[in-house]
């Protein structure tokens, strides 16, 4: 029964928290850029407007793909709140991400096609990091279950600081922030227009936005697992991490996918592996 309540909390909290975070993000970004910025609830208005638009698709596949993406994202967050198995969460989330790319591939637009290829490369870059982080959790707690993480008596951050840094890469990619916003970015100001999202429109783009909120909450939730002993510190940790993300977004140029593959694979996976060896030896 508790699990069911947690699942429902997860399903509701995902979009609400995700949308608020997106709104807050835009506001803080605006402050960094010396602008006024939109209201914090702007993200909700945007999605509401998208849902009100005419349903237009280039390809029937896109309908399926956007629905699978949002359902997978919601399920993975629900599983996370239900304190289920991390590997299961990981695979459900990966299925969603791949379907989003498939929807983009289904359209013939070159922007969407090239964007989809770049998105695949991004998935390829951050998924190994996520897996290694989960292996790290296993080495510390002896289980892949989220509930096991809650039982540790000292913050995981102390044991896996390098892992946290590597997760930062995954977070930046997942949040579509500079320097990793080349497959699509929050502003369509790039050579591929809106990249992987170019051909999604109306309600289906709205669904993808909602799925993005779920994923944001999920990745931030993973970050939260690094400090489970004290809720206050957990919130501070997430707050600082997110603020750092916004800072990075605002002080860096957009890079290319060749650069990303080198950095994330070398540094991200390198940091994780070093941390794993340390955990294994320690």
């Amino acid at each position: 029964m508790d699990t069911l309540i947690l699942v429902i909390i997860g399903l509701v909290a995902g979009p609400v928290l995700g949308g608020l975070i997106a709104g807050l993000d835009r506001r803080v970004t605006a402050w960094f850029q010396s602008r006024q910025g939109p209201p914090i609830t702007q993200a909700f208005y945007d999605v509401a407007k998208l849902f009100g638009k005419e349903k237009m698709v280039v390809n029937q596949w896109q309908i399926l793909c956007s629905w699978v993406y949002v359902i997978a994202a919601a399920t993975s967050l629900a599983l996370f709140f239900a304190q289920s198995d991390l590997l299961l969460i990981f695979f459900v989330q990966a299925v969603g991400a791949v379907f989003m790319v498939m929807g983009a591939m289904a359209a013939k637009s070159p922007y969407s096609q090239v964007g989809a290829q770049r998105e695949l490369l991004q998935v390829l870059a951050y998924e190994p990091v996520l897996i290694l982080v989960f292996v790290g959790f296993y080495l510390v707690t002896g289980s892949f279950s989220v509930s096991a993480v809650w039982q540790v008596d000292q913050p995981l951050l102390a044991k896996m600081p390098l892992m946290y840094l590597a997760l930062g890469y995954a977070l930046t990619i997942k949040l579509r922030k500079s320097p990793f916003d080349f497959s699509t970015s929050h502003h369509g100001h790039q050579e591929l227009v809106k990249g992987v999202l170019t051909e999604y429109s109306g309600p289906y783009l709205g669904l993808i936005e909602v799925a993005h909120w779920y994923e944001t909450v999920l990745v931030l939730g993973l970050c939260a697992l690094f400090w489970t002993t004290n809720v206050a510190w957990m919130i501070v940790l997430i707050g600082c991490t997110y603020l750092l993300e916004i800072l990075v977004d605002n002080t860096m140029a957009r890079m290319t996918w060749r650069w990303m593959l080198k950095r994330v694979w070398l540094l991200g996976i390198g940091l994780s592996v070093v941390n794993l060896i340390w955990l294994y030896a320690g």
Binding site: T29, F182, H189, M255
Partner: protein
């Protein structure tokens, strides 16, 4: 390897200019770029047949929004040369002041757009925030933010009072301070250098042969600036062209960055040397028969006017060659073998102004 054709423009978010490039891309490496122009051709040159030579100033000012003052000044100087008019020194230096303010705001606008091309939104906003002070100067002194419309044949039609001059100087100090704060970011930031150094390289010989103009030429190491000719008020000022030798996008942006500071210096010099006197001389009659070839330096480079008078109030021929027109062939030479992600950076590095190009 399959070839993908990416349409770039005429309406594209990173390139707010109506030019179309058909990019043939293999594995995100550009193999070929074919341009298509003609989306904003307005036929302004033809207008000289129905507008008299005084009214043509406003037409020339509208060739381009960003360098409108310099177009107006170039046209007025050409007509003055044709008619043999010597304008007062105060008018010459006032033209320099507004021209250099235009160069500053144009370069700041470009630096912002350039930052946007490589996805650096915060830097983009910062440059445009600084630019706003110069727009305010334009608005307060000439009555309009962009198209200042201060030139008339024979001089200028607006004056700067001592109070305004003091205010301009104090605003310039703030602008210069704020721009200098960004120097380190623009020239040394790791991410920016990764995106600009070694991208779109053009050697000195290539740039010369392809007829590049302005910062595109100077970024390749050719010290050529039309202001060296000492036309108009530039004869009174110390001037040394800004040159970089690398020939890549970084060099071109650095040239423009340093020119912002140089222009601020030129405005200060012009203000310190501003003599008292008339604003304009009276112009009698119509432009006589004859030809004039006049070149000035615009923010984007060398701009050429060719004017043929026929003794009536309408001109026989007005030909404008804008800097972007000269910079498109170099662009076509730079694009092949670059990454798709670098296309906006390279295209913006010539500071394209398509409305200028097509007139």
């Amino acid at each position: 390897m399959a070839t993908t054709v990416i349409p770039f423009g005429p309406q594209h978010p990173v390139l707010p200019e109506p030019v179309h490039l058909t990019l043939k891309v293999e594995d995100e490496i550009v193999k070929e770029a074919i341009p298509a122009l003609g989306y904003v051709h307005r036929g302004l040159e033809k207008l000289c047949e129905i507008r008299d030579f005084n009214q043509m100033i406003t037409v020339c000012e509208r060739v381009c929004g960003i360098c409108s003052m310099i177009h107006g000044a170039c046209y007025s100087q050409s007509i003055e040369e044709l008619m043999g008019i010597e304008i007062p020194d105060r008018a010459k230096l006032l033209r320099v002041i507004w021209s250099e303010l235009h160069r500053m705001h144009s370069h700041l606008l470009w630096l912002g757009l350039f930052a946007d091309a490589f996805g650096f939104e915060a830097l983009f906003m910062q440059f445009w925030k600084i630019r706003e002070r110069i727009m305010d100067i334009n608005e307060a002194t000439a009555g309009s933010r962009v198209i200042v419309s201060v030139n008339i044949i024979g001089g200028v039609r607006a004056d700067l009072s001592p109070d305004q001059l003091r205010w301009i100087l104090s605003e310039l100090d703030i602008v210069e301070k704020e721009v200098r704060e960004l120097q380190d970011t623009m020239m040394n930031d790791y991410t920016i250098k990764t995106r600009t150094v070694g991208i779109g390289v053009m050697t000195k010989a290539q740039a010369w042969e392809l007829g590049a103009a302005g910062p595109t030429l100077r970024g390749s190491g050719v010290a050529q600036d039309m202001r060296q000719q000492g036309y108009g008020g530039y004869a009174f000022l110390d001037f040394e062209p800004v040159v970089e030798t690398a020939g890549d996008c970084w060099a071109r942006s650095t040239v423009r960055f340093r020119e912002v500071l140089q222009s601020a210096d030129l405005v200060r010099q012009a203000i310190s040397k501003l003599p008292e006197g008339e604003l304009a001389v009276k112009v009698k009659g119509n432009p006589p028969e004859g030809e004039v070839y006049h070149r000035v330096e615009q923010p984007r480079g060398e701009c050429m006017y060719y004017i043929r008078g026929n003794g009536t109030k309408n001109l026989d021929r007005l030909r404008i060659r804008t800097p972007t027109f000269a910079n498109i062939p170099p662009l076509l030479a730079m694009l092949p073998e670059c990454e798709l992600a670098d296309v906006p950076v390279i295209v913006l590095s010539i500071d394209p102004c398509i409305s200028c190009t097509e007139r």
